[in-house]
């Protein structure tokens, strides 16, 4: 099998889309209302060490995925348990992402189209992308990112007439609990889900700056998150932003350039689905790699289809309505944070100890030098 590598630029694009895609669809947690931008900054502060930890893991295990790391760090039994848990978690995220996007389309325009048709459309495209390999996924993400920057610039320009900066005030009026609760939600979704990117660790060539990939994508995502948050807040106002199920989409509905150019929300909704497909594809690759390792299948691509079908089946039964979906998203940090940060932290500590013990002691001559 020819191993498919991702370039640094494409790896950045994949991570960036994973973070920002979900954020643009679901918006910022609004626990701290107009002060919610502080939640984004706190999440950023926490994500710096977390990102460094992920990058360090990729560096400690060059050209290896997270499942190899589990086996190496936790031993055979621990590795199998870790692989099962993470594969199931990847399927759960895929199903959740598909639910988010399919529900979005059902709410905004496709009222009569059966849920399964929309969900299958997203999953099957993601399966095709996952089967095409990491390199194709990287190139696809880079193309999506260009579209994203263009769309964000258009959205900013076209909503500029509607900005009301009064909505940013009163500033610093929320309690720390509310601000921190927002940060925790952001850490779980979308930031924490980038743990899935470790499953693509074997596609990053040794020496291809893993620190650069993680840190730049987190920093750029945070900047865009802040800009999008301020734009949505200044356009929609606090009450509409709080009650809007999809705030970025709602803000895009206000966009107009005179009377000639308006209703860009249709284009933005297409972008949302592209981002959803990308994240689903990453999760499907992760789940397929885990399953292939468990089943001792050499090429993960041959198990992408069954994994995709499992994700589709799960997405059909996961939530009955949007209220259940958003209720689950509120509780999601309790389930996800141990897997997103706790397990990688344990993995990193063990990996550091193992690598330190394996490292040859410096010779006496070197010490004397």
């Amino acid at each position: 099998m020819n191993k498919s590598f991702i370039t640094v630029r494409n790896a950045f694009s994949v991570l960036f889309i994973m973070i920002l895609g979900n954020y643009l669809l679901l918006g910022s947690p609004f626990n701290a209302k107009q002060d919610s931008w502080l939640s984004i900054l706190i999440a950023f502060a926490i994500m710096i060490p977390v990102g460094l930890m992920f990058a360090r893991l990729v560096k400690l295990y060059p050209e290896q995925d997270i499942f190899f790391m589990f086996s190496d760090a936790f031993g055979r039994a621990g590795g199998i348990i870790g692989t099962i848990v993470f594969s199931l978690y990847a399927v759960l995220i895929s199903a959740m992402v598909v639910q988010n996007y399919a529900r979005f389309f059902q709410i905004i325009t496709l009222w009569s189209t059966p849920f399964i048709v929309i969900a299958a459309g997203i999953i099957l495209t993601a399966v095709y992308l996952a089967k095409s390999g990491e390199s194709a996924l990287g190139r696809w993400s880079l193309a999506i990112i260009v579209l994203l920057f263009v769309l964000i610039a258009i959205a900013f320009l076209m909503t500029s007439q509607e900005y009301n900066f009064d909505y940013l005030f009163p500033a610093f009026n929320s309690s720390f609990e509310n601000i921190f609760a927002g940060s925790v939600s952001l850490l779980a979704l979308p930031f924490g889900d980038i743990v899935m990117f470790l499953a693509l660790g074997d596609s990053i060539k040794k020496g291809n700056g893993s620190y650069k990939i993680f840190m730049i994508s987190i920093a750029v995502s945070i900047m865009l998150m802040l800009l999008v948050f301020f734009k949505n807040l200044c356009v929609l106002g606090q009450s509409t932003m709080e009650s809007a199920v999809f705030p970025s989409y709602a803000a895009a509905r206000m966009a107009s350039l005179s009377v000639f150019f308006e209703r860009i929300e249709a284009v933005i909704s297409y972008y949302f689905v592209f981002a959803g497909i990308t994240k689903t594809a990453v999760c499907l690759i992760a789940a397929a790699k885990g399953s292939a390792r468990l089943l001792k299948v050499k090429d993960y691509r041959s198990v992408v289809v069954p994994v995709g079908l499992a994700a589709l089946a799960l997405s059909m039964t996961l939530f009955d309505n949007t209220t259940e979906m958003f209720d689950f998203i509120r509780k999601y940090p309790y389930l996800s944070l141990p897997l997103q940060i706790g397990v990688p932290l344990l993995l990193w500590i063990i990996a550091e100890i193992k690598h330190a013990s394996k490292r040859p002691l410096p010779s006496m001559n070197k010490l004397l030098d």
């Binding site: 496709l110 106002g237 009450s239 509409t240 206000m254």
Partner: protein, 377 residues
């Protein structure tokens, strides 16, 4: 061999796509839709719900007569969407709301039930755009506002939409009021100012400003205050307006305004009472002067400027005072300003705000910078 299999699978896939994916479940042809241009909401005849009148564009008649024709569809329901559903008994085509431009609410509903439920129902709907304008009818029914008069060939809702779009630009007429902005104000418990419309010679005309408190209509400010309200509320772009400076109307003038800027502020006095200030400044040019006073020399022009400033200050004071004393309405949004500037102080006074507003000292300062006197010196 491999290429053959590949080509066959592509051909089979394309055949399946052609047969199965000819259109999704939500595909709609324009012929099957009735475009709704505007909606008027009145009380139902038995007072137990709503009578909804929709101005719908009739494509069949429009094509035949080569001009846009509209028809009014009316139905009653316990809720607005109940009324929409009942239209299915009247028309076969599906109602299409994303192009709707105005929602007109009758004064009866606005004063008795309030507008909160209607606004929430509309904003919840993905069909109705959040940017649609909301107006209040001062005519005997909201339906009259959107009903085309004899010989009218245009879409009435589109005309009303254009009138509102021009607010702040030459047509002096209250305040723009999108659905989502009203929703924000209702949730913030803020007082709301909406354009009021009535019917004159079978055509809808802007007729002052409707004052909404606690989401209920409490009264109107007459059209004579519209320009002054726009100046004070900082929503005036360019406008030419005329006024009589003295009571006897022997000194009439018209001025064109640009670069209008206004700011509201507050001071807490020693006895904990409030002093609310409105500062307005703009550039202006003289258009007309009907007076025996000589404004063409420095002293006369200075007197003219002072007279204009005093007149505008007086009118802004009047509209603010009338709104607070007669209706308890904070027309310029001082409450919102205090909340955003000093949220702790607002928490202390919010329960006695209405009394404090009525007792507050109001100070209006207008500064006019006359840039020219048009073509003559």
């Amino acid at each position: 061999m491999k290429t053959g299999i590949r080509l066959t699978s592509i051909a089979v896939s394309l055949a399946i796509i052609c047969v199965l994916l000819t259109g999704c479940w939500d595909y709609k042809k324009i012929d099957d839709l009735t475009l709704v241009a505007g909606m008027a909401i009145d009380k139902a005849s038995d007072d137990s719900g709503y009578k909804v009148s929709l101005e719908a564009i009739d494509f069949s008649m429009s094509v035949q007569e080569n001009s846009v024709k509209t028809q009014i569809i009316q139905l009653e329901g316990t809720t607005i969407f109940d009324a929409f559903n009942k239209t299915k008994t009247q028309i076969v085509k599906e109602l299409y709301f994303p192009d709707m431009q105005i929602i007109c609410i009758s004064s009866g509903i606005a004063s008795d039930e309030g507008i909160a439920n209607i606004i929430e129902s509309c904003i919840r709907s993905t069909d109705i755009r959040e940017s649609v304008y909301v107006i209040i009818s001062r005519a005997e029914s909201a339906e009259k506002i959107i009903k085309p008069g004899e010989g009218m060939s245009s879409v009435v809702s589109a005309e009303i939409n254009e009138l509102i779009d021009e607010i702040g630009n030459n047509v002096s007429s209250g305040k723009k009021s999108n659905l989502y902005k009203i929703y924000n104000q209702i949730n913030d418990s803020a007082d709301i100012v909406l354009p009021a419309f009535s019917v004159k010679e079978d055509s809808p005309v802007i007729d002052g400003m409707a004052l909404i408190k606690d989401s209920r209509l409490v009264g109107y400010l007459d059209q004579e205050y519209a320009e002054y309200y726009q100046m004070a509320a900082d929503i005036l772009n360019n406008a030419t307006f005329s006024f009589a400076i003295d009571e006897s109307s022997s000194f009439n003038t018209s001025i064109s305004i640009t670069n209008n800027r206004s700011a509201i502020s507050y001071d807490i006095k020693e006895n904990e009472a409030l002093r609310l200030s409105v500062n307005v400044s703009f550039d202006a040019s003289v258009r007309e002067v009907y007076s025996s006073a000589d404004v063409d020399h420095a002293g006369g022009f200075e007197m003219f400027r002072r007279e204009c400033e005093e007149h505008i200050s007086k009118k802004i004071y009047e509209l603010t005072d009338k709104s607070r004393q007669e209706y308890g309405v904070d027309v310029l949004g001082f409450a919102n300003h205090i909340y955003r500037d000093a949220p702790e102080y607002w928490e202390q006074i919010k329960d006695r705000w209405e009394t404090m507003l009525k007792e507050a000292e109001i100070f209006v300062d207008v500064d006019i910078n006359f840039t020219n006197t048009s073509f003559i010196s």
